[in-house]
Amino acid sequence: MARIDLVELAHSYTGAADDPASFALKPTSMTWRQGGAYALLGPSGCGKTTLLNIISGIVKPSRGKVLFDGRDVMALTTQQRNIAQVFQFPVIYDTMTVGENLAFPLRNRGMPRAEIETRVRQIAELLDLVPHLGRKASRLTADAKQKISLGRGLVRADVAAVLFDEPLTVIDPALKWELRSKLKVLHRDLDLTMIYVTHDQTEALTFADTVVVMHEGSVVQTGTPEELFLRPDHTFVGYFIGSPGMNVLPAEVQGRQARIAGHVLRLDRTYCGLPAGARVELGIRPEFVRLAKPAPGLLGAKVERIDDLGRSRFAHVRVGDLRIAAGVPRGPAIGQEAALVFEPARIHVYADQRRVEGAA
């Protein structure tokens, strides 16, 4: 139960602390609120596990500090930090029963027997492990083993935070969904700070109130799922979240006008003084691009492919060298000529991949 602050944290596995290129985690400062449900989202190798291991104390950072409720914990061991962590692959104690596995963290801390029993039962009920409590843990399937790992992470009520490192990787897809919703319920019931590392956007967006997106060793955006969807701060966020990802189109922007592929678009806001020499791009989600009949004044395109995702359909069209995705309720045929209509309020301007705030 703690607020966790990261102060100027950076880590390099090669130990070259002054070579920024070698950093697995680039200098990062941020705050994790007590009781929050966070997801740490990013592709493999973006530094999210490193960040998690620094918080739990498994990795000592090259630079910076971690504070729990304002107290510097850098000198404390994992055990003293009072953190719970669940790993990607199930870690179970082979010789113990399921119940003993769940009780292990409590027993090690000298909790009275009766309390251990109630707590273990409570967690086992939440995870549907009650029928297995007396069985040898090593005899269960990988799914059940990972549930035990989850249970061991959740069994202590007083932890500063529970960290999940891609905990559902080995779980069956159907069960994955169920376990995720369970975690969400547990978060509400137990009032714990939870940090959930994943590379799966659905997992992140359904679990968390706040999603932290990481890319190449730095945090590129922190926000609610809605913010990440509507106002991606970085082209990577736009591309990584949403499916299909945001259209990112090279453009020239001047004031309220943008030029893509020779066509001039009106923008909702004014962009002045974009940094000289910066790579300027427009970003717009396919959900806010409409396909219309070809007409003068509209950007013409050719339909290349239609993706029907059930609830929604997207057309992939071609404009010169550019490929753009756009929402279509029904029609058109592949190869057909069409035109694109952009929702001006939803167009974002990016300079060197970072979003530029326009003036009204």
Partner: protein, 300 residues
Amino acid sequence: MEKIPNQKAWLLVLPVFAIVAFSAVIPLMTVVNYSVQDTFGNNKFFWNGVGWYQELLDPATELGGRFFASLWRNLAFSAIVLTIEIPLGILVALAMPREGWGVAFSLVVLALPLLIPWNVVGTIWQIFGRSDIGLMGWAINRLGFDYNYVANPIDAWLTIIVMDVWHWSSLVALLCYAGLKSIPDAYYQAASIDGASRWAVFKAIQLPKMRHVLVIAALLRFMDSFMIYTEPFVVTGGGPGNSTTFISIELVKLALGQFDLGKAAAMSLVYMLIIIIVCWVFFTVMTNAGQDRRPAGGEP
């Protein structure tokens, strides 16, 4: 991985089968043959049935007495060295450094006794334990203890036990070290997060993960300590008296010293049978106890 049924695979196994059969079956047949016959020399043999076996298994006879005395000595010796070497090997494996030059150095030193010819091992300890020219014998006597492995049976036993510990504990240590190396880091991280003590980590993680190699280690050590011949023969020659005469020493005396082929052959077969039975029982018990290690889902 599912294996493909293929009888032609016998062709690949045939050379091994032939050479091992040549080295094992033919001599074994000879032994069986000797064990049911008697000879008065000159290559004249007489059918003796189970006579040698009756004599061997009756402690009242001279042969039976010698056999059972050496059998008990052998069992005691195996029990003692296993009791010392297994825990010591585990302890040394746990004490191994994790990385750096210390690892290679320790591994090389640990492996060293294993590659010394067995009679040289005997020679080393024969010299080391002597009170006139050996460091250990000299030091023990200087400390005021009366130590002489040539004259005193207890000292002789102590010497060969220490020698065996010196010679073979490394094998257990190296096997355990290999077992420990195969434990993923996540287990230690999880244990540290769960607040486990050093002892709890040993009991809940390290020992269960070492069980497989410990079975191998205990089997190898039992077989080899039960078959021991060269080292005690060099150090004590089976003495003082018969106090360190193990079955192998007795057997070689009978076969190559007295050319009592029938008796030696009968003893050989009973001896082998004991080893195989003990190993089989031990192996079955240990692997059945570990049956629950392989679940349906499997581990990474």
